[in-house]
Amino acid sequence: MPDRAPVIVGTGLSDYPQAPHLDGVQHHAQAMQRALADCGVPKDEIDGYLDAGGGGGMMIDDAVTMAEYLGIDHRYIDGTMTGGSSFEFHVQHAAAAIRQGLCDTVLITYGSDQLSRMGRGLGTGGLGRGVKRFGGPAQYEAPFGNSLVGSYAMAAQRHMHEFGTTSEQLAEIAVGVRELAGLNPDAMYRDPITVDDVVGSRLIADPLHKLDCCVISDGGGALVMTTAERARDLRQPPVYVLGAAGAQTHWNISQMPDFTDTAASRCGPVAFGQAGLTPADIDTIQFYDSFTITVLLLLEGLGFCGRGEGGAFVKEGHLRRSGDLPLNTDGGGLSSSHPGMRGIFLLIEAVRQLRGQAGAAQVPDCEVALACGSGGWLSCIGAVILGRDHPS
């Protein structure tokens, strides 16, 4: 029997954090070229394609458009769009499709020119004149002037109310990620910061400060997945998908059932169960850090600490470069890059760690990594556990 254990064999990043020479679709294309070159899979071998779209700006980049544009002759296609966590859901779906034999070799791409597009004055419709109208669930939120930051701020405020979490505890997350960004020559911000810097930065939406928020960048990424069997002849050591699960609690923030409990508490146990592992087995975490509170909620939801204990947990230093659970070793969204939907970078960085290719940011003897994406407004959480060794 051929070994159909699903593996990640190729990764590619397009130019970031600022790439005015690329539009969103070009980010997809460049990332694909680099991922194929990374592993040595010829493009015509790709028979599965997954793409969430949403990053093309003026250029359409949904799955069927991009399959046509990139010339992917697929027998498995998936346009799942759960916001920034789409790519964790994609790995879950691709792993199942590969195991089932629906396809053999899968490409996942993402690309966004968000920063450069804003610089060119496009996509800033909020500045226009005239009253705008909203249908669907948005009609019950749009009149009140909430912001993206405000949605996460309401979760942070509730967490502080219920558990006594402090701004200083949240700041510790940003400080640790910035320390690791200092090791990434491409990161948008690399100078060290302190807790005082974070809590002293401007409030954007109480209680979140400017330095509690991710950067806005350009960027794209691609993954190539295949079977362990096929991976034997490729350039890079395979990284095994040990567990992958996702769940959704809501989409619009006003529908969040519990502002201090995300779908991580539902999908985490599933992913750990598939892998036969517990949080204590994880060597590094690559978490969606749209805001500091996002990381705190994922830590609690996935069981790295108890509910409400996230603030004290991060203060113990686990997530630092020198800690036992280094977080976002590429500098994360808080300091390196955030083109809008960052979930693919979490997976790419986890692979880099498990291959032992992370240079100065390498986590010693890294065997198991957890990538966890949060999409929407803490809405759709996808957890992927990746391993260096074959799970059998």
Binding site: L127, G145, Q157, I204, A205
Partner: protein, 154 residues
């Protein structure tokens, strides 16, 4: 914008000039916005007793047909934020302001703004009551203000 003004609960105060985003009423939402323009806050309740907001064509719990129910218009602040940065018109001229999730006495939550209250006085658990602002004919929009004389901590 005059939504910070007074007016008895149940009445709808006309906005002098509404510049904020407006709902696009649909088959399901039209009765909600029309009732609000008459000063009434509606939520949905299905025959099995499940309440929900926002209004939907089905009960999100059991899939049955929901019916309209008039809410008391009272609740508490479940969580909130002070928006200090928003580049979109007209909000950029109204900074800072409070966006809150209000938990109604009936148990459902809705997003809104807290008015008639200094932003540093808003607290989780604070009792609030609705007041409606007429955004355009047939569309009232609910805003929230502290309940006079009640404690503001929980």
């Amino acid at each position: 914008m005059s939504q910070t003004g007074g007016g008895a609960a149940g009445a709808t105060q006309p906005a002098e000039q509404w510049e904020r985003p407006l709902p696009r009423p649909d088959n399901v939402s039209k009765p909600f916005w029309e009732a609000a323009s008459r000063g009434e806050l509606l939520i949905q309740r299905c025959p099995s007793g499940h309440r929900q907001f926002y209004p939907r064509a089905v009960c999100r719990v059991c899939g049955s047909d929901p019916e309209w129910e008039r809410a008391s218009g009272r609740g508490t602040v479940h969580t909130f934020t002070v928006i200090r940065q928003n580049h979109a018109r007209p909000f950029r001229d109204e900074l800072p302001y409070v966006v809150a999730m209000v938990e109604l006495d009936e148990g459902v939550r809705m997003m809104g703004n807290i008015t008639d209250c200094a932003i540093d006085q808003v607290r989780i658990g604070m009792p609030v009551e609705v007041h409606m602002v007429q955004a355009e004919p047939g569309v009232g929009v609910p805003f929230w203000r502290p309940v006079a004389g009640e404690g503001r901590e929980s």
